[in-house]
């Protein structure tokens, strides 16, 4: 791949908040073994005053654009009562600028999805993503209750509920070392259950998850083999399943080479994350709530004390911003994949290297480099085949 020739530096683009991540509670009803959340047993809940202050801080910010997505995340959102969201959505609607287009979304394990939740989703247009790792024998190895029981059957029940109510959703499937041997079975699971849109996350070294099943020798090769096989299955069965990683990479490859790839994780305030106590962070949402003396636990401000305005003056924020920018420059100068990646996820650089001014991570090797290589080799193989068919056809015509 040609080294990219992007001219603009993303970190210098004037900030626009396009994602607000709110943690209604750190609590999760499950205990998946690869989870990054450190306090998932903590039953704290955000209080109405904190919520009001979050909306005020964000909606009055000079960085607010014309659209904003609110993700209720960093704990299992459905452990909060539906009434909480009804009140929160109404509050957001009342306090937002008139011309701001607002969407709400959750990423859920679907275990608690019942008819009342489906009614609420239909009533409000809440966007839903479900975390499910494919068939039971893969899902249940990692996605467990606190007593160690598998959760696949209950997740599937929630999925059926959504489907019976005609609710569209996407799925996030976390790939562990176990998954890499079973692309066909993962494909089957999503195809057989009529789940048409999926994204692959990986078992990352992140937060409370200090190790990954994907760090072993030879995993890179196995990961590529998995992707290659999965892409072949998608092509053999067109129209059944779309995979975010392939689609996004195709779009990035097809984009004008001078267009700056948009990576809101490296832009200050591109993503604003606020925890249940009102602590504010930015850049990768996974940073919030992680302990780090150097970076002040990534709580760069608090909605109860000054809000977003204070964040820019926060020393830990400034250090983080500087380092992320340095890492981005190094990525841009040294990495052939920058044009499709945009400098990766700062959280992975931090959790793998302990700092942000770094470049390559296991995360980017698998989710950016490997995916890009597979997609490009597929495009090249298709082109070669078309060329060969053209030559054969032309030869036939001459004869």
């Amino acid at each position: 791949m040609e080294r990219n020739s992007l001219s603009s530096h993303q970190a210098d683009i004037s900030p626009v908040i396009d994602l607000l991540v709110i943690q209604p509670t750190p609590f999760c009803n499950l205990d998946c073994d690869y989870c990054y959340l450190p306090n998932r047993g903590d039953r704290r809940k955000i209080d109405p005053d904190t919520l009001r202050r979050i909306f005020k801080a964000v909606f009055e910010s000079e960085f607010l654009g014309r659209q904003l997505g609110i993700v209720w995340h960093a704990g299992e959102p459905t452990t909060m009562p539906i009434e909480f969201y009804r009140t929160a959505f109404a509050l957001a609607e009342q306090s937002k600028p008139e011309d701001l287009a607002l969407t709400h979304s959750i990423q859920t394990n679907a275990v608690l999805i019942d008819q009342a939740w489906c009614d609420f989703v239909l009533e409000t247009g809440l966007q839903v993503g479900v975390s499910v790792d494919g068939p039971a024998f893969l899902h249940d190895r990692h996605r467990k209750t606190r007593s160690g029981a598998g959760t696949h059957a209950r997740t599937l029940r929630g999925i059926r509920r959504l489907q019976d109510n005609g609710i569209d959703f996407h799925a996030i499937c976390v790939l562990t070392r176990d998954s890499l041997d079973y692309p066909d079975e993962i494909f089957d699971f999503f195809a057989d259950n009529n789940i048409g849109q999926i994204g692959f996350n990986i078992d990352e070294i992140e937060g409370a998850n200090h190790d990954s099943t994907l760090t072993g020798v030879g995993t890179d090769t196995l990961f590529r083999r998995f992707l290659r096989r999965f892409l072949d299955l998608l092509k053999q069965h067109p129209g059944i399943l779309s995979v975010r990683e392939f689609d996004d990479t195709m779009s990035a490859i097809a984009a004008d080479e001078n267009a700056a790839i948009y990576n809101h994780q490296v832009m200050p305030f591109g993503i604003v994350s606020v925890d249940a106590d009102g602590n504010i962070s930015t850049f990768s949402p996974e940073l919030l709530g992680q302990s780090s003396r150097t970076y002040g636990d990534f709580a760069f401000g608090n909605v109860h004390q000054g809000g977003l305005d204070d964040v820019e003056n926060n020393a830990a924020f400034q250090k983080t911003r500087r380092e992320i920018k340095a890492g981005l420059s190094r990525c841009r100068e040294t990495c052939d994949y920058y044009g499709v990646c945009g400098g990766g996820a700062p959280s992975n650089k931090f959790f793998e290297h302990g700092r942000f001014d770094e470049t390559e991570t296991m995360y980017c090797r698998l989710t950016k480099m490997a995916v890009t290589d597979i997609v490009i080799s597929d495009i090249e193989a298709d082109l070669a085949q078309h060329a060969a068919e053209f030559v054969t056809a032309a030869g036939g015509q001459r004869a």
């Binding site: 024998f137 079973y182 195809a191």
Partner: protein
């Protein structure tokens, strides 16, 4: 004429007929040998060869341990490995018009069947089941309990040659249960004093073992749907080229 051979149930894996059945590295599910394996207590000698009696039973612990390879000296054993295959291949097989593929091996196989066979081989290659350098993929459909009512057979496109890195076996038979119900695969023991062994293959399960040593005795386990199996074997040319495989040229 039928007679019952005396059987020593403590010798199921002795030289001359020992069978080990175990899950292959690619097995999507929970392997439970005690549910999948049965032994019988004697062979019927019939005019046209032996047949197992119908009194299949769960192996005793010592038998189970031997049958699954837990207690063997590794001598001259027939190792059978069980794997699973995905639903999309089964779905694809339902789209084949097998009636029109009812041809003798190697001739006149439809494009659809060739494409399907190639996809099956890709899968076997991915999960690293050892496949013959060139092979024939035979579809067998039969009434429950009956012999094959007809067979479609054909090499995959271009007599697919093993690619680099693909595990190649000189002599493997692979049997895949494409039907809707479990079916039994039985290994007749060459030593008449040893019980025969039956493996229950669920729909979507398959097994492989050395060519010609696997005796795929029909056993529908009392089910009612037609059996639909695919059998992958060395192609005829490969059999003729290899004296260990060919029972005709090298006799």
């Amino acid at each position: 004429m039928t007679s019952i051979q005396p059987v020593d149930p403590a010798k199921p894996t002795e030289r001359g007929g020992g069978v080990i059945v175990r899950p292959f590295s690619h097995y999507a599910g929970h392997w439970r040998a005690e549910q999948k394996l049965r032994v019988h207590s004697g062979a019927k000698l019939k005019m046209h060869g032996d047949a197992p009696r119908d009194d299949w039973r769960t192996p005793r612990d010592v038998e189970l341990s031997r049958l699954t390879g837990g207690d063997t000296d590794g001598a001259d054993l027939l190792v059978v490995e069980v794997f699973t295959f995905p639903n999309h291949l089964r779905n694809d097989s339902w789209g084949l018009n097998l009636d029109s593929d009812q041809v003798s091996a190697g001739s006149g196989v439809s494009q659809e069947y060739r494409a399907f066979a190639a996809r099956l081989l890709e899968y076997l290659e991915f999960i690293r089941v050892p496949v013959n350098r060139t092979c024939t993929i035979r579809a067998e459909i039969s009434r429950p309990g009956g012999g094959p009512s007809w067979t479609a057979a054909g090499p995959p496109a271009g007599d697919k040659v093993a690619s680099d890195g693909r595990p190649v076996a000189e002599s493997t038979t692979i049997m895949l249960n494409f039907g809707f119900e479990p079916r039994g695969v039985v290994w007749a023991n060459q030593d008449p004093s040893c019980p025969w062994v039956r493996l229950a293959l669920e729909p979507g399960e398959a097994c492989f073992g050395p060519f010609r040593q696997m005796q795929l005795v029909q056993d529908t386990l009392g089910m009612t749907e037609p059996d639909f199996n695919l059998i992958v074997e060395p192609s005829e040319s490969e059999q003729h080229a290899n004296k260990d495989l060919c029972g005709v040229c090298h006799d």
